[in-house]
């Protein structure tokens, strides 16, 4: 573990962006991944450790003009208990309920879960299905810049993302679709504190007997959480029947590229992905 030359706790986005511009900086939010990764030698601290947990404007959920905005420091417990999330985006509360343990949910932030960019990051899966965008700020020339990126493009590989060295994730934006149903399911040997062997999120609705606006995402079965574009195409506009679901499940393999590791074999991950997808479509969409 290398020495941290400077520790700074900031309380505004502006101050955080200025510190990042002076870089190099390691950003501390909930810390649940950072302490583990640095202790294990998987990651080294930059010269400056910047604690952003006191940036109050980055914590909370807002509903405006048919979209949800979630601050990056919103904890997983906040997602679980937030009335706006429960009413307008229950799939996120459902995912939060399957995340870590009470202690980890109390510490971990949504922004940290995204920036950690784990292939098995629980929150990434429903967020990709929901079409979430991340907002990233930086202050390269004395002015605060902000850009947005679709989450499914932001995560680029295991532990890597399109986050620039001087950038910070500030907000997650989620477009809300009218009448959409959906669910998140993950599987592991133990419900609590489990890194998923496979995870699936599906959103959409049934209109006039047909699957409509279907969005599917898979976790822990590829280098990043991925959209299930082939499965989506096999469902979209088709009659909501068992035959359609069976045809869609045959497309799962084309969407994922799982590996064998200590948690599960690639074969089992493919099997789980099909089972979880089938269960969601049958249970939630009542086909």
């Amino acid at each position: 573990m290398n020495e941290i030359a400077n520790y700074i706790a900031v309380d505004t986005i502006e101050a955080a962006a200025e510190t990042l511009a002076a870089g190099p900086v390691t950003v501390l939010a909930g810390g649940t991944d950072l302490m583990l990764q640095t202790e294990a030698g998987a990651r080294t601290y930059a010269a400056t450790l910047m604690n952003i947990r006191r940036v109050a404007e980055l914590r909370g959920v807002r509903l405006e003009e048919g979209a949800l905005t979630i601050g990056a420091l919103t904890t997983v417990t906040d997602l679980l208990n937030d009335a706006t999330i429960q009413a307008h985006c229950p799939i996120l509360a459902e995912t939060a309920d399957q995340f870590g343990s009470p202690q980890i949910r109390n510490m971990a932030s949504i922004g940290g879960n995204i920036c950690n960019a784990s292939p098995a990051g629980d929150l990434l899966v429903p967020l990709i299905a929901l079409g979430a965008e991340v907002e990233l700020v930086s202050k390269p020339d004395g002015r605060l810049h902000s850009r947005r990126a679709p989450l499914e493009e932001f995560v680029t590989g295991p532990g890597t993302s399109a986050l620039g060295d001087a950038e910070m994730l500030t907000f997650i934006h989620i477009p809300l679709a009218d009448g959409a149903a959906g669910a998140f399911r993950k599987f592991g040997p133990r419900p609590a504190l489990e890194i998923a062997m496979a995870a699936v999120a599906v959103t959409g609705r049934i209109e006039a007997g047909k699957f409509t606006n279907m969005r599917v995402a898979f976790g822990a079965v590829a280098p990043t959480p991925v959209r299930g574009k082939n499965v989506e195409a096999a469902l979209e506009g088709k009659p909501a029947t068992e035959e359609t679901i069976a045809a869609a499940l045959d497309c799962v393999d084309a969407d994922i590229s799982p590996i064998d590791d200590v948690r599960a074999s690639a074969w089992y991950r493919r099997h789980l992905t099909r089972v979880l997808t089938q269960e969601i479509l049958a249970d939630v969409f009542q086909v």
Partner: protein, 159 residues
């Protein structure tokens, strides 16, 4: 900016200040700087709950919490529970139900149960099991720990 961090926080009701290394865990600081050895280092990865403390009313794993992040916050450990004359109702319930075996998980269990009962004063068995999903007892003495939660909840509700 500094390579050390000056922190001031409330520890079991008392104002405390010290200087910590930025990468130090809250658990190490509690154990080695304050001699509060109830919270245990077991897995060191936030998986087992033996290091559970309460910070600003929420249970957290002290082993993966940055001590620097305690600045300005309110920290409670088991050592603060029986500072008065009597044991805390959760502690008393552990004795009454025989919920202690080797004792290594007990301080973390007690703090997590404090958090659980603050959130939900009347948990059913399923809620108790969910509430303790982040705490591992390697003696596997879960039945009596669950009995202790029920007993403590009853005592607390009776006021």
């Amino acid at each position: 900016m500094s390579s050390k961090s000056d922190i001031s926080f409330t520890l079991n009701g008392q104002a405390r200040s010290l200087v910590v290394a930025p990468a130090a865990s809250a658990l190490n600081v509690l154990r080695h700087e304050f001699d509060l050895t109830a919270a245990k280092l077991a897995c060191g990865e936030g998986e087992c709950g033996a290091c559970t403390i309460i910070v600003d009313g929420a249970s957290v794993c002290a082993c993966i919490l940055y001590a620097a992040d305690l600045d300005g916050r309110d920290v409670e450990t088991v050592e603060g529970l029986d500072a008065g004359e009597a044991l805390d109702p959760v502690q008393a319930a552990f004795i009454e139900t025989g919920a202690v075996q080797c004792g290594y998980c007990t301080p973390g269990m007690v703090m997590q149960i404090k958090h659980l009962l603050a959130e939900n004063p009347d948990p059913d068995e399923a809620a108790i099991r969910r509430g303790l999903e982040g705490n591992i007892c390697r003696c596997t003495g879960y039945s009596k720990i669950i009995d202790a939660v029920k007993s403590a909840a009853q005592t607390l509700r009776a006021g």
